[in-house]
Symmetry: C2
Subunit: 899 residues, 2 copies
Amino acid sequence: MTQKKWVYVFNELDQASAYVGGSWDAVRGLLGGKGANLFEMYRIGLPVPPFFTVTTEACNAYLASGEKFPEGMWEQELDALHKIEEASGKKFGDPSNPLLVSCRSGAKFSMPGMMDTVLNIGLNDETVQGMIKLTNNPRFVYDSYRRLIMMFGAVVLGLPDEAFEEPMEAFKHQKGAKADTDLTAEDLKELSEIFKKVVRENKGFDFPQDPIEQLRLATEAVFKSWNGKRAIDYRRAEGIPDNLGTAVNIVTMVFGNMGWDSGTGVAFTRNPSTGERKVFGEYLLNAQGEDVVAGIRNTDPIEKMAETLPEAYNEFMKICEILEKHYRDMQDMEFTIERGKLWMLQTRNGKRTAKAAIKIAVDMANEGLISKEEAVMRVSTKQVDAMLHPQFDENARKAAKKEGRLFATGVNASPGAAVGQVFFDADTAEKKGKEEGLQVIMVRPFTKPDDVHGMLAAKGILTSEGGATSHAAVVARQFGVPCVVGASAIRIDLEKRQMKVGDVVVKEGDWISLDGATGEVFLGKLDLTVPNLEEQQDLLTLLNWADEIARLQVWANADYPKDARRARSYGAKGIGLCRTEHMFFEPERLPIVQRMILAETIEERKKALDELLPFQRSDFEGLFEAMDGYPVIIRLIDPPLHEFMPDEEKLFEEVITMRVKGETKGLAEKEKLLASIRAMHESNPMMGLRGVRLSIYMPEIVEMQVRAIFEAAANCTLRGVKVKPEVMIPLTGTVKELEWIQPRLERIAKQVMSEKGVNFPYKFGTMIEIPRAAVTAGEIARLAEFFSFGTNDLTQMTFGYSRDDAERNFLIKYVEEGILEKNPFQTLDREGVGRLMRMAVEEGRRTRPELEVGICGEHGGDPDSIEFCHLIGQNYVSCSPFRVPVARLAAAQAAIKNR
Amino acid sequence: MTQKKWVYVFNELDQASAYVGGSWDAVRGLLGGKGANLFEMYRIGLPVPPFFTVTTEACNAYLASGEKFPEGMWEQELDALHKIEEASGKKFGDPSNPLLVSCRSGAKFSMPGMMDTVLNIGLNDETVQGMIKLTNNPRFVYDSYRRLIMMFGAVVLGLPDEAFEEPMEAFKHQKGAKADTDLTAEDLKELSEIFKKVVRENKGFDFPQDPIEQLRLATEAVFKSWNGKRAIDYRRAEGIPDNLGTAVNIVTMVFGNMGWDSGTGVAFTRNPSTGERKVFGEYLLNAQGEDVVAGIRNTDPIEKMAETLPEAYNEFMKICEILEKHYRDMQDMEFTIERGKLWMLQTRNGKRTAKAAIKIAVDMANEGLISKEEAVMRVSTKQVDAMLHPQFDENARKAAKKEGRLFATGVNASPGAAVGQVFFDADTAEKKGKEEGLQVIMVRPFTKPDDVHGMLAAKGILTSEGGATSHAAVVARQFGVPCVVGASAIRIDLEKRQMKVGDVVVKEGDWISLDGATGEVFLGKLDLTVPNLEEQQDLLTLLNWADEIARLQVWANADYPKDARRARSYGAKGIGLCRTEHMFFEPERLPIVQRMILAETIEERKKALDELLPFQRSDFEGLFEAMDGYPVIIRLIDPPLHEFMPDEEKLFEEVITMRVKGETKGLAEKEKLLASIRAMHESNPMMGLRGVRLSIYMPEIVEMQVRAIFEAAANCTLRGVKVKPEVMIPLTGTVKELEWIQPRLERIAKQVMSEKGVNFPYKFGTMIEIPRAAVTAGEIARLAEFFSFGTNDLTQMTFGYSRDDAERNFLIKYVEEGILEKNPFQTLDREGVGRLMRMAVEEGRRTRPELEVGICGEHGGDPDSIEFCHLIGQNYVSCSPFRVPVARLAAAQAAIKNR
């Protein structure tokens, strides 16, 4: 039996690859991401300092066996050390020509902060002297030495940082040194001794002078760091499995500070902030890597290297091209030049801004480096989203936090940043915003439908109650208004017109800044940057590619013609949800609506409805015109009638007050109105008299609506507009509801078409938002020509969560405790709600193979949910206009991922 | 091709049977129930007047072809007529020896009132003379003749009754006759002429003198009556299919009024009211059947026939025995004796009271006439239910209605009759009922958990709001208190302490009587009859047989030891649901509960919980003792905390009033309490912070409860009681909730057992009442050792119906309009909710084959729902103690039906 191979030397990539079966992913799994890239660079002939890697399997074996190196590992590591001694011509522990190495962890996925690097392993009291001779720079060598002891002490031996920092401060004070740089070579030598004493006193043994012992301990420390608290927390947060383990990379140290023919730098193959196709980086002559990062000296742009180190520069430029072509992605590299010789220390796919990500993806596809599919996969939906909303300047955000201006944090309900003055009610917000032209942030404990006019006039919305699908959140997303909800630390005092967190008071008119993407609320103004879709040619190109690839269409939820126009300009191929009741809330219409509701006879009711008909008809004409050629799904009235009535509590207070004061004028009227509103009261309105139930209870309203829809469609047809109206019946729970209402409505549709003498295609269909509708979808599809999943309500009822309450009460705790992986109102619960959806699609299509299936809940704009919609074979997703670009990308990514 | 056979003569049963494939059910389908029994009686040699039957197929063919007799039918009918002429020795239309026949409809299922019988077909001006000679009774013959014309005119020719009644009244007036009996033979002859004139004037043709024409028209009329409005309405109401059609029975007339050796009667083979095994009936000498029914002369009990017509009597007694043995059920028969010769005119299974049904079933099984299974199937669950509740005397009910004392009608929420004085709040009701010993009917618009003490002290409950699963209804059923809810015509004025329907006022203290089985509310007192299970030996026997047969066990929902004892005495084999929160509402505990809820620190909360622990422990000890040897499922706290708090609206009113009046004393406290209550407010509490969510939010409460359960179980074990506690976690929606809470609770369980040094079997499980729980039951069963379907909530969420609102708002309309076949809160919706339940059982058992599955929702006491529970393989159903006997029978019937 051959012994298992635990250690791979720089030229053994093929063996590692063969061992794991050949895939690059598996190689990364065995050698870690950092290690794998070092091997790969070596393999394609790039200059990498001699190195070897101890595998993740060794780490796992070590941890599994109670922290013992697996059999043969250490011997293999020593063998590998000899091989890099040979390759480098140096010798570990040899005072005359010492080999120094770095020791770094490297897991399959990057885990920053898991463990610090230990540099300069191999230095001891003897090799220090050899290094001084080699470098002629005793200060650098002693500095390296004291750093090794400190880093080793902290990282490997587990001493607290203060154990070194306190004596160092004392020493500097004694020497009269302000900065570390004020210390001389002699001082640093002395400090090394002090640090050695720290180790001895704290650990009871000396800092190991034996380089081999240093290496062994460092290797073990890296292994152990896999189960350190920081690493575990990070894995939890990022969803990285615990069983991967980390590799250990041992790399020959090279020095950029060996004179003016030496240097070090970092660079990207393209500009990570703009995406421009030009190497972007910085370097320092006669310096070490940490000097570039620390910013002690001013770095030079990489271009300048062409003058100072032309040969190395040219070689590096070639390497950039090779690496980008090789990895087919923008690379982020570290390099060092030691006495004119270029060494590559790291390469990896570079992080980039949203803008750069899009430009690079599109450019690379145009250059033929990657396919359009790859380009589509290279950009995240978050990056596209970021391109559509104003954002805070990151430096401004950091500065504000430092200054203690973070006022509160809530649920990130609608992305985008907003700066404005605080107003505490809808009327004032509208007045200040529309009439006075102020930048308004509307602040409320929570919002209601009759607050919408104020919300529309605001740049941002902040509530102290409610969750991601509360009224405020839904409306805000719908209209693309940045919004933070449920910032529960805030106490709003509507009477005093102020809000407080602790002692910090924000009064009406004060400025705040809020970020709907992070949920942060700042005091005062933060600087904003504002992107614009039409000007973003690269993004438009990418989204067109996405449309070619996607199988799902993207439609939009839009209630008004202007929203429909925006949706269309963002690429929507239809309206998946027009909520007709929003039209009822407009100030000139609401009194008619209330009259209609309170009508005591059918005649009175019909009279009020006759007054509403022209309003609705003209709204619908606008929608049809905006969506010329595309389908428009109009949902019949859904909310319970009491939502259109004045606030019960306020009215009750007025009545009580009048009674106590003995005022009688108007009291009887108010009492009557109160009684009417109370008669409409429901214990659980979410599950009450609404949707199709209301239509069956009071069919006159939807009869008017269907007449308005078909009159509008007929008028548009006569004007040459191509209309495709689809009438959607909400809240169906049994096919018998459709059997009751749908034929009556279809009769009206046909009647209007015959009155107007026109013909156009139309559909009648239903929302699937009641669990029972999903369970009996096969029956429902007998009548319904289309399904639209109302996943907000479907999620509410499948989970039994009231969305108005749950996020505030227990959902946050549930997500924190891991009881729910994600907020199911933001990301579709595939296991529960999704299973019902899948049943509905399958059984609905069994009855009616051509059944059109979409989604119009909040989830229609969520990438993970969109993937699920793709998987169950929906025809489209519908989301708020501002989410359309994101959804287009997500639809394409879903198609590619699941080919 | 032989012609289809449309008509069967009395001796052709074998042919009919062969044609339909031999089953009795199919024979009834072809010949109708009445006809089939005539054939059967003939077949077994009983004396039946010669007859023939036109098939239901002929009826269907007639109706399908646009009211044309199918080919050959009429010829077959004339042939058949000849055959009965031969058999009877009489001749149709022969003045010297005329054959007269009756013509009756007879569908597969009895449809009373669908069509009247036409008797004496064959009488005309000529045959009248023959009949007079034969009978020597011209008055009888002319009376028969004028009746024929009248009946024929009304039933066959479609004339309104008044067309005959008005001229008859005028004629009687003219003759000075008060009653019909005052008319002489001569008068009746004259009246025949008048009636013939009525026909001529109204129809434009003469009353058909041709007997064949009479027969043809009567046959057609019976066919047409199948599609008459009355028949269609009846079929709708009874769920009889429209495509069955009716048969037509043509039977030779025999006459009981041909002298003192003739007579007629009706009889049952056993007493239909007590079930006593003795022929029960009445007869009249020298009379026709209608005389018995009309009550013009006093009938004699059947026994007397032994003296007056001993031969016929003996023959009839033999026939009774033959028929009962033959049909293996109690028979309801009509017979006529014509000149000493007994003729059987009808037999059918007799209707009977609940008491008789049970006695007859048990007796017949004991006699070996039927099997125990058949006995179990012979009694309906409604009959068993009727035996357990006080009931109004039916005559008293009829009288009260006649007197206009029916005050209102509502939903029949909890069966049983109650008589008492009205009180309008729980405290008064309790005081009057418990302290003063009055019979109390508690009346409220609706009830809440803190009304329970009043409800328990009441003999009956009446509400003007709410439906069959409102709080009032559920509690009433739970405690077997008769209850009518949602009597929406009633206006309750709590301030004036009165209620009104229109102008009728009932003041506090007035007497009313209500029937929870019919939903009726009467003014004043009605007489009651009160049954008692223990004394009903037959019922006990029947239920024991049911238990032997059933596969489902029947458990009970019981919160208190006394309920558990009752449940056990009613045959419950376990407690399927003990609602621990009911214990929290008791007056001495509620303040502690409120203190616990409002606690600002964990310590304060734990202190309050420590005070509650002994109460709960002693409650549980009582339960375990009562159920010694049987499992007891205890549900951990379920309702949202605000249910334990004072009424928000009332408090708000107090606060406003104090503010307006400028009163400050105690205001701050009230405001603080109001704020606390408001902070708990939820938009949809049904879907809010309750059940396991509350347990995760505030685990201290359930930790206390589990400790109380296990301490109680341990104490009981030490006293020699055999305990089987099962801890039920409510409202689970994801297995992760169980993963969070269950191990903590199991730890406490184990700890208590080890503290007490005892061991007993126990289980932890969950309710399945959230759709998502059903959909992910396979996962949930990893932790849950038992499932209990909470079908109230599961129905609410699967349908999206709030039970507090739906019945009041739209459910009644939905049932009326046929959108819902039945109220899904009363009878399980198999298609939707049931499908989820079936998934849950199948997938739960796939994970855990020994999973115990039950139901504890209201449906656990509903026979149709119990059948479904049987079908999906549940282990038990749990219902209110008072429903246990019903459920036991239903479980057995489900097993028999689905063998």
